[in-house]
């Protein structure tokens, strides 16, 4: 599983149990439980999945299977400023690839990685529904539209 080994504090374990019981420990609510846990912890490392597996009485392999199946769930922590580049078709034909390359170069990251200082993480996403602004980049909740490769450095400066 994940290479990062973490130790959950008792209060974290309690929080997970609380989330599970708020869904009546119903195995059919697994995805909702994962959503809530990711919202709280920011990511879903193996240790969290183990607690969920015990609480909902779902085999750990199944929990892991679901976490890795859906692109929304992540097992590595996201950066403080998650950078997502829209790779929808509209953005693609308007040059999202080049914008992505520029972010990779500037941040020294590949898609799915986080900088060592935990500041930025890089991901691609499929259509945010703002095709009029293509190509679109999202950093946290902020949307940047009509991004050209030359804008990348200035955008990142905002977060220094």
């Amino acid at each position: 599983m994940s290479s990062i080994k973490i130790e959950l504090r008792q209060e974290d374990v309690n929080k997970i149990k609380e989330i599970c019981s708020s869904f009546r420990n119903d195995p059919q609510e697994l995805i909702n439980v994962l959503h809530k846990c990711q919202e709280h912890f920011g990511y879903l490392p193996a240790e969290i999945q183990e607690v969920i597996s015990d609480e909902l009485e779902v085999p750990l392999a199944k929990v892991y299977g679901v976490v890795t199946f859906y692109s929304f769930f992540t097992m590595t922590p996201k950066g403080k400023h998650p950078v997502s580049i829209c790779m929808g078709t509209a953005c693609y034909v308007r040059g999202a690839e080049k914008v992505m390359d520029e972010f990779k170069k500037e941040l020294g990251l590949q898609v799915g990685q986080t900088t060592k200082d935990g500041k930025f993480s890089l991901s691609s996403l499929r259509c945010v529904g703002a095709c009029g602004l293509a190509p679109v980049v999202m950093i946290g909740d902020k949307t940047y539209g009509r991004v050209a490769p030359d804008d990348v450095r200035n955008i990142l400066k905002e977060y220094e």
Binding site: D26, P27, Q28, E29, L30, I31, N32, L34, H35, V58, K62, G65, V66, F69, Y70, S71, F72, F73, M87, G88, T89, A90, Y92, V93, R94, L125, R126, C127, V128, G129, A130, C131, G132, L133, A134, V136, T143, Y144, G145
Partner: protein, 589 residues
Amino acid sequence: MVCGGTGCSGSQGEALLDNLNLELEANALENDIHVVKAGCFGLCSTGPNIKIIPGNVIYTGVKPDDAKEIVSEHIMKGRPVERLLFTDPLTKKKLTTEKELSPFRKQLRLVLRNCGVIDPGNIDDAIAHDAYAALSMALTEMKPADVIKIIKDSGLRGRGGGGFSTGLKWEIAAKNKSDEKYVVCNADEGDPGAFMDRSVLEGDPHAVLEAMAICGYAIKAAKGLIYIRAEYPLAVARLKTAIEQAREYGLLGKDIMGSGFNFDIEIRYGAGAFVCGEETALIHSMEGLRGEPTVKPPFPAESGYRNKPTNVNNVETFACISPIILKGAEWFSSIGTQKSKGTKVFALAGKINNVGLIEVPMGTTLREVVYDIGGGIRNGRKFKAAQTGGPSGGCLTEKHLDTPIDFDNLIEAGSMMGSGGLIVMDEDDCMVSVAKFFLDFTVEESCGKCAPCRIGNKRLYELLDHITKGKGTPADLDRLKNMCLVIKDTSLCGLGQSSPNPVLSTLENFKDEYDSHVTAKKCPAGHCKDLMEYFIISANCVGCTACARVCPVGAITGERKEPHVINPAICIKCGACKEKCKFDAIIIQ
């Protein structure tokens, strides 16, 4: 009305809204004029947009600082602010109202009837625009069988992609006897480049709730579930508000309108998996499992959510229901073509002037969509292709410009309706790369359950990658085609059965482009990096050394004031030299 769609909000629409409120307060007008965050107007490329009622004057590209002028000029003095009016991209004329605006002229807004018209956060506003009138009519004047008949007679076909008759689907679900049944709304819009469902949910959530209740009444289900992407926070918030308000008004819950009919709706979250748009996969996902499809039959109408009969329709399909009940099957079937009735919403995007959300009667030609509504190709370039149906669809070319768009014509042209993304491409787009782009998507989104889709699409992608890198041979094109046909025939679900479409359709329509990739090893659109060679025309080169200085790998050599040369063995084709050259001496071959 300030457009609250994602495109407009993303370009300072929020700040504009605040400023308008401040300006109105400063002039003591806050009680007479309401600023409303409305649903998407469909003019996404010019956002943020606002509309002022009465008069329906539309302003585009409004900046937060413009709030002052709009309030002092338009609202207080009644003079329109000329510079903020919409400019027609073809005639360069300034246009004022929705009726005049060229993008709206050929449109018929039926699904989007209330988007940008009502305040989506206010149920009273929705009711004033006929929301829940159809539900009341169904509950008081019609039997469930009457409802099904009217939907069947209207000829409505599912808007999610397949185009199956909605009335028939309801009828099958109604016939299956069970103590529990479910109505599911598929709002898992995963198609890259499509945002129709999202706009309906954001702009007119009650339309969907009402239709789900009508469906519940027709098939005798008491429970509705909306499966929506967690990535659509605004749509989720609007739905939650709408559900609460509807419960308060007794339009959802127990004994709706005193009819004895019970129906309530819950939201379920998706977590980002394209395959969950497939009915059976969606149902598994709602049950907390991996979203993998299963073989049909049994169809969800027999055994779906929790093994109970389940009717799944998409957002746009549901949004058609209320007008059909209110205005009748005949009215609906009078719109559109012989076998495709009603309208279709398209998310028009790509290399086009008026990007946005449009709704046209079935049978509108591609030419009308691209030129009359879309305002033509950006920067005066030439139209090359329009891609419909996303990763499951194909390309329409110049020769299809005058084909009426409907379910059957699109399939005949080697594409499909899909959910309604319509991406326009110009001569700079390489069709082999476009096919590769979609395959990349499919490879990532294939659930992995069946081998043809999991392995076949990966192999397809590798072959295409090979070709774009100049390593392909003419024999590869035959292999490509064969593999496509095998994947289509043998995949388990709709995803795999349609995933080779982008390849087959580009192979059919742009064979010459594939040929030149594998034989001459050239990319005619100048897109594939590995097939390009940068070259300096010595006659144009003055030896300014600008290119040599900017080259990151030192591939350019030459004396001052002498023509320079590029060493293709070192060149990484970054294009920096071409951008820098002021004398047009550097060309791509």
